[in-house]
């Protein structure tokens, strides 16, 4: 195992997202009874992103990520590189979820997410407000 805790991946994924202009970020933010590991916003693209980190159980990550599509434009699951290889990529593509493989050196985007078609503006606006952003979409 490359990481012993999910939180060991947080900083790496957060940096990966910052490099993609998602500079405004929240971590461990609640969505109903769930906790989104990272929620970010890119002023440049005016897009939000949510990330579910998981060490191994990718199907659980998918279940949670599907819900985050209600509150974020784009949603990824992020897993250690070895675990990410076992993910059913076709399933992620079907649902429009992205996949990030994480190792100690870098993060790689294995699957591109699609824009959520179930986004609820109200939820998105709530998280943008938490980030200090005004609702622009």
């Amino acid at each position: 195992m490359e990481f012993s805790r999910e939180s060991d991946m947080t900083a790496l994924v957060a940096r990966f997202l910052r490099n993609r202009s998602y500079a405004q970020q929240l971590s461990e933010v609640g969505f109903y009874e769930h906790r989104m590991d990272i929620y970010g916003y890119s002023r440049a693209h005016q897009l939000t992103v949510a990330v579910e980190l998981k060490l191994a159980k990718w199907s659980r990550a998918v279940s949670q990520a599907l819900l985050y599509q209600l509150c974020s434009d784009l949603v990824y699951i992020a897993m250690p590189t070895l675990a990410a290889r076992r993910v059913d990529v076709a399933l992620l593509q079907e649902y429009g979820l992205g996949l990030i493989a994480v190792d100690k050196a870098r993060c790689r985007e294995l699957v591109l997410p699609r824009f959520s078609h179930v986004l609820r503006r109200r939820y998105r606006a709530e998280y943008l407000a938490l980030l200090g952003e005004e609702t622009q979409r």
Partner: protein
């Protein structure tokens, strides 16, 4: 032996639920209160029961005798006789200092005094204490008298209510004392319970005597156990049997358990009226197999363990999705709406629910559905958001109205219709990615309701 439609009997879990009971009592067939709740707040409970009875709902008082018997600790899985689960940590003063002691909850202490020997609020009742016929008869009479007279006594002892003592409501039936038939002493406790129901039925009371069969779910798989229960129903003289299988959760139960449960109901119904003490939609559907009615709580309680697992925080009241017949998280349902082609309030009312609550909440936009899950920080120091009381109330009212509708619709559906509906729902709601794992009971129920 069933009536024109299933009976829906609501169990009051606390006085915080009084509002629901009062507002909807005329739509329920009955109300059941635990004797421990009565002893915790006797005046308030007595006046509530008077009001509810005026709305023509039947009343029942669960004597809760099982609470004073041995139980299996859900954490250690060991048999315990110290009754710790009906104790709480209580602040006391000793030598001018505040100390915490673990003692019986006040309501159970009072109940133990009311029910009398062999119940003592110190250690669990053992089966051998009820072997003597005289002891058993006195105990059964005490338990019956408690149910028949406790409300009236409360009225008589209250200045404001004493004028109503003559009108004090009487239970529709009296429950025989009952104890948990735990799996390490099945025969012993089954014998004891049968003896208690037989003795109670022989008391010659003016109201019917009903029995509660409170047993571990594992017993459902035991044909001898089921035969014995049916035989007892046939020969004991009780007028009704209420089933409570601890650990039997309709949504999680495998097909064999569901079938065994249905078979037991069917066999019992040949001899007596059958109720589910903590039942959900599956139990209600068994009306077609002879189930007279079901009982459950207001916000939860369609299934109940004998010893509840105590949670750390107030549980979220989830939204009851009528097609799926279970409660689910708001985001899980919301995520599935577009896949189900539900994009407007009209779609929602047509495909999800058109109860008065849902019509009121989802009126302008489908996004208003989120109001069933509204969250807030319940106090300034809260670390996590919790469901708002208003959202919980919406969910509870919606659930109760849905259940009333299910009861009313049950006679209009054949068991084949129900099976077909369940199977069809599995291929619609059950195919939504956020709900797939929450719908796996549907094909099991459909197959079990043969």
């Amino acid at each position: 032996m069933t009536g024109p439609k299933p009976e829906l009997i609501i169990r009051l879990g606390s006085h915080a639920e009084k509002e629901y009971a009062m507002k909807l009592a005329r739509f329920f067939d009955g109300l059941i209160v635990g004797a421990n709740l009565f002893e915790a707040t006797p005046g308030a409970t007595a006046s509530l029961l008077l009001s509810v009875e005026a709305k023509k709902a039947k009343l029942y008082v669960d004597p809760m005798t099982y609470a004073f018997g041995p139980y299996i600790d859900p954490d250690s899985n060991e048999l315990r006789t110290d009754l710790d689960w009906i104790k709480s940590d209580q602040a006391r003063k000793k030598d001018g200092k505040r100390i915490t002691v673990r003692d019986f909850k006040r309501s159970y202490k009072k109940l133990a005094l009311e029910l009398g020997d062999p119940i003592m609020a110190s250690t669990a009742v053992q089966a051998h204490q009820l072997e003597d016929g005289d002891v058993r008869t006195i105990f059964c009479r005490n338990v019956a008298t408690y149910q028949l007279n406790r409300i009236r006594r409360e009225f008589q002892g209250d200045k404001e209510l004493s004028d109503f003592a003559g009108d004090a409501p009487t239970p529709a039936a009296v429950f025989a004392p009952y104890f948990y038939i735990e799996p390490t002493h099945t025969e012993t406790w089954l014998d004891t319970n049968v003896a208690l129901m037989t003795t109670s039925a022989a008391l010659g009371l003016d109201v019917p005597v009903h029995a509660i069969v409170c047993a571990a779910a594992v017993h459902l798989a035991n044909p001898k156990f089921r035969e014995r229960v049916v035989k007892a129903a046939k020969t004991s003289g009780v007028g009704g049997v209420w089933l409570w299988f601890s650990g039997f959760f309709e949504e999680r139960a495998d097909e064999v358990s569901l079938r065994n449960y249905a078979t037991l109901v069917e066999d019992l119904a040949e001899h007596t009226t059958v109720y589910a003490l903590h039942g959900g939609y599956y139990s209600m559907a068994l009306w077609h197999k002879g189930m007279q009615g079901i009982s459950h709580g207001i916000g939860y309680g369609e299934q109940k363990d004998v010893v509840p697992v105590i949670g750390q925080s107030t549980p979220t009241v989830r939204y009851y999705l009528p097609s799926v017949a279970r409660r689910l998280g708001v985001p899980e349902i919301e995520r599935a709406l577009s896949g189900m082609g539900i994009k407007s309030p009209e779609d929602f009312h047509k495909k999800v629910c058109s109860c008065a609550v849902c019509v009121g909440v989802v009126s302008e936009s489908i996004e208003e559905f989120a109001a069933f899950g509204d969250m807030h920080l319940s106090h300034p120091m809260s670390q996590r958001k919790a469901q708002t009381p208003a959202a919980a109330k919406r969910c509870r009212y919606h659930f109760l109205l849905s259940r009333i509708r299910e009861r009313d619709e049950m006679p209009r559906k054949s068991i084949q219709d129900i099976r077909a509906d369940l199977a069809a729902t599995a291929t619609t709601w059950g195919m939504q990615p956020s709900l797939a794992s929450s719908c796996d009971h549907l094909p099991r129920w459909s197959r079990a309701l043969v």
